[in-house]
C-alpha cells in the first residue's frame, strides 16, 4: 500500500528517514516524540521495533522452528533490553512534554530540553518504529471500550494523558528488569501459521523471555506488551506504543468507516479554504469528521436517507465539537436537491453489499455526483472490489461523450442552473458513443467528464477495497 506509506512520509516529513514498506507495515526511523507520533492519522497502530528478521523457514522440522523462535530471544538479548529502555524513555518524554505544556512553560525551554534528549537518543541507539495498517485486535482490554461511554472529548483527551502517565508509572515501577511484568501477543500467518498456532509461538517466546530476563508474565495488566508477527515475508517483534490504536480517535464517538481510511480519503481530496465538501452517503459522518478536524476551513455537508444514521452522525458531531463545521441533510444520493456544479469536492464511501445493486443504483449515484460537481472538482470514492470492477469494465469499451455539450460548456460559472440538465442526465447515458481522440485509460468511468486520477487498494480488515480519485474535466474536450 504505497499510498499510505507516502501519507506517513508526508505526515512525518521533517523527521523521518529510512522508510521501508512491507506488506501492510511501514518501517521508519524518526526523532519525533510520542506526542507527535500520536497524531499520525494514516496508520492504525504504532510499534517500537525490537527485531526484524527474515522469515523462519517453515519447511524445517517443528523442533527446528521452535529452536529458531527461542533464538529470537536468546541470540541477542541486548537488543531486547535496548528496545525496552528506549520504550521507557519515550514514555517518560511523552509525560514530561504533557506536563510542561500544562504548566505553560516558555516554548524555547521546552525545545532545548527535547533537543538534548533527542540528540542523546540518536547517539546511543537508532530508533526504529513499525506501523501497522491492518487492524489487529491483540490487546485484550481496549481502554476505548470504557472511553466510548463518555461524551466530551476533553474528558477523553484527559484520560488518554492519564493512560500515558500510567504507562510511565508502570514502566518506572519496574525498577530493574527483573520486576517487569509482560505479555506476549503473537500472530502467525502464512506457511508458518499452518505449522504453529499463534498461541503456541506466543507461549514459547514468553517462556524464553522469562528464562532469559527473569520477567514475570501477567496476562491481565502487564507493564510491557510484546507483539510478534510471523509470516512469509518477515519475523517481527515490537512494543506497541499506545494502549488504544491510533485509529481510535478522541474526537469520534462512534466510528462507522475505519477512521484511517476516512482520513486517507480526505487527504486525497485536496480540501482548501472555503471548499464545499459533500458526502452524499455520510452514514455516521466519519469521513466528514476526519476531514473537518484536519482541514477546518472547508464547508462540509453530509447527507443520508436514514434517520438513525443522521442521529448518530449528529451525536458524533456534537461530541467532536464540529456542529458548526458540518451540516446535515436528509436527502437521497440518487437525487440531490442541489443545483448543478455547486459542489467542489465529493468524498464518499459507496455502500458495499447487496442492498446497493450493482448497475442501476450506483450509476445513478455517480451521475448525480458528476452533475453537482464543479468542473475541476474532485471526487474520492471508496469502492468495493465489485463496484470497482464494474466501473472498470464499463469504461473500457467505449467513451460516451456528452452529445449536447450543454452541461459543462461553461466552465467558468460557479453555480449553473442549467435548465436542460435534468433531461440531459438520461440522454447522456444513451447518447451515441464516439471513440474520441482522447486516450481512454482502462479505468475510465462511463461518464464523459470524470477522469480517473489515482486508485489505491486498501485493506479494511477482512476485505479489500479501492480508494479512487476522479477529477471532473470539461466534457467539451481538449
Amino acid at each position: 500500500m504505497p499510498a499510505l506509506a507516502e501519507l506517513v512520509l508526508e505526515e512525518e516529513k521533517d523527521v523521518t528517514e529510512k522508510v521501508e514498506y512491507v506488506s501492510g507495515k511501514v518501517f521508519f526511523t524518526t526523532c519525533s516524540d510520542l506526542n507527535m507520533l500520536k497524531k499520525l492519522k494514516s496508520a492504525e497502530r504504532l510499534f517500537l521495533l525490537i527485531k526484524k528478521l527474515f522469515p523462519f523457514t517453515a519447511s524445517s522440522s517443528k523442533g527446528k522452528i521452535l529452536n529458531e523462535v527461542q533464538q529470537l530471544v536468546n541470540n541477542d538479548p541486548r537488543s531486547w533490553l535496548d528496545a525496552i529502555s528506549t520504550w521507557k524513555n519515550l514514555l517518560k518524554l511523552g509525560v514530561r512534554e504533557e506536563l510542561s505544556q500544562r504548566d505553560a512553560k516558555p516554548p524555547k525551554r521546552k525545545m532545548r530540553e527535547n533537543e538534548t534528549i533527542i540528540a542523546k537518543k540518536l547517539k546511543t541507539e537508532e530508533i526504529q518504529k513499525i506501523e501497522e495498517n491492518h487492524r489487529e485486535c491483540q490487546l485484550e482490554e481496549q481502554t476505548e471500550d470504557t472511553l466510548e461511554q463518555r461524551d466530551s472529548t476533553t474528558r477523553r483527551d484527559k484520560l488518554e494523558k492519564e493512560e500515558i502517565q500510567k504507562e510511565v508509572e508502570k514502566a518506572a515501577g519496574a525498577h530493574s528488569q527483573e520486576d517487569l511484568t509482560f505479555r506476549v501477543s503473537c500472530r502467525c500467518t502464512g506457511t508458518i501459521g499452518k505449522v504453529f498456532t499463534s498461541q503456541e509461538v506466543g507461549r514459547i517466546i514468553g517462556i524464553a523471555l522469562m528464562k532469559q530476563f527473569g520477567w514475570k508474565a501477567d496476562l491481565r495488566n502487564p507493564n510491557l506488551e510484546i507483539f510478534v508477527h510471523l509470516n512469509d515475508i518477515y519475523t517481527v517483534a515490537g512494543i506497541p506504543m499506545f494502549r488504544a490504536p491510533l485509529a481510535s480517535r478522541t474526537y469520534i464517538k462512534t466510528a462507522g468507516l475505519r477512521s484511517t481510511i476516512a482520513w486517507a480519503m480526505a487527504s486525497l481530496a485536496e480540501i482548501k479554504v472555503g471548499t464545499f465538501v459533500l458526502d452524499p452517503m455520510c452514514g455516521l459522518g466519519t469521513i466528514l469528521l476526519e476531514a473537518a478536524k484536519e482541514w477546518p476551513d472547508g464547508y462540509y455537508v453530509g447527507a443520508d436517507v436514514s434517520d438513525s444514521q443522521l442521529l448518530g452522525a449528529w451525536d458524533n458531531l456534537k461530541a467532536a465539537g464540529l456542529n458548526d463545521k458540518i451540516e446535515l441533510l436528509k436527502v437521497s444520493a440518487i437525487e440531490l436537491p442541489l443545483p448543478s456544479e455547486s459542489i467542489d469536492i465529493i468524498i464518499s464511501d459507496i455502500p458495499f453489499g447487496k442492498k446497493f445493486k450493482l448497475g442501476k443504483d450506483i450509476k445513478t449515484i455517480l451521475q448525480e455526483m458528476e452533475r453537482v460537481l464543479h468542473v475541476g472538482g474532485t471526487i474520492v470514492l471508496l469502492l468495493s472490489k465489485d463496484h470497482h470492477r464494474l466501473l472498470k469494465d464499463c469504461g473500457g469499451s467505449h467513451m460516451p461523450l456528452d452529445s449536447k455539450g450543454t452541461h459543462a460548456n461553461e466552465p467558468g460559472i460557479k453555480k449553473c442552473l442549467n435548465p436542460e440538465e435534468k433531461t440531459d442526465t438520461s440522454e447522456r447515458v444513451t447518447s451515441s458513443y464516439e471513440a474520441g481522440n482522447r486516450e481512454c485509460s482502462d479505468k475510465m468511468l462511463p461518464f464523459g467528464s470524470l477522469v480517473p486520477v489515482e486508485c489505491y487498494e486498501v485493506s479494511l480488515g477482512k476485505t479489500n477495497a479501492f480508494i479512487c480519485k476522479y477529477k471532473k474535466s470539461s466534457a467539451s474536450g481538449p
Binding site: 479554504v273 472555503g274 464545499f276 476551513d297 464547508y299 455537508v301 436517507v305 443522521l310 449528529w314 456542529n323 458548526d324 451540516e327 446535515l328 441533510l329 436528509k330 436527502v331 437521497s332 440518487i334 437525487e335 440531490l336 436537491p337 442541489l338 443545483p339 455547486s342 445513478t364 460557479k414 453555480k415 442552473l417 442549467n418 435548465p419 440538465e421 435534468k422 438520461s426
Partner: protein, 125 residues
C-alpha cells in the same frame, strides 16, 4: 440548517428544474450560535452566494444588518465580512419548512436537518 446551506438547496420535484430555487423558508425555531470568524473563509464564500435567495431568507428571519450586495473590495472590508459571517454561519434554523416555489411542496426542517426526500411519484427518475 444555516443560511449558507439554504443558499445551496434546490427543489428536485419532477418538472420543476431551475424554478425550484430558491426554496422559501419558514422558521418556527431559530438559534444564533457564535462561530469562530475566519475572514478568508467568508471572503471565498461571497462569490458563491446567490444574493437574492440569501436576502429573501434573511428577511423572512427578520435579520438585521444584512448587507444587500458585496461591497467594492469586500475581501478586506472586515465589517462587511463580519456581517456576512453572521448571516451565513451563525444563524441556525432548527425547526421550520422549506417550500418549493414552483410546486408548493413543503419540506420539513427538524432538529436543524432539512428532510428533502421525495416519494416515488414526485421524483424525476
Amino acid at each position: 440548517m444555516k443560511l449558507l446551506t439554504h443558499n445551496l438547496l434546490s427543489s428536485h420535484v419532477r418538472g420543476v428544474g431551475p424554478r425550484g430555487f430558491p426554496l422559501r423558508l419558514q422558521a418556527t425555531e431559530v438559534r444564533v450560535n457564535p462561530v469562530e470568524f475566519n475572514p478568508d473563509f467568508v471572503a471565498r464564500m461571497i462569490p458563491k452566494v446567490e444574493w437574492a435567495a440569501l436576502l429573501e431568507a434573511a428577511d423572512t428571519l427578520h435579520l438585521a444588518e444584512v448587507p444587500r450586495a458585496p461591497t467594492e473590495g469586500y475581501e478586506h472590508d472586515e465589517d462587511f465580512l463580519r456581517k456576512m459571517h453572521h448571516v451565513l454561519l451563525e444563524v441556525e434554523v432548527l425547526e421550520g419548512t422549506l417550500q418549493c416555489p414552483e410546486s408548493g411542496r413543503l419540506f420539513p426542517i427538524s432538529r436543524g436537518i432539512p428532510n428533502m426526500l421525495l416519494n416515488d411519484e414526485e421524483t424525476e427518475t
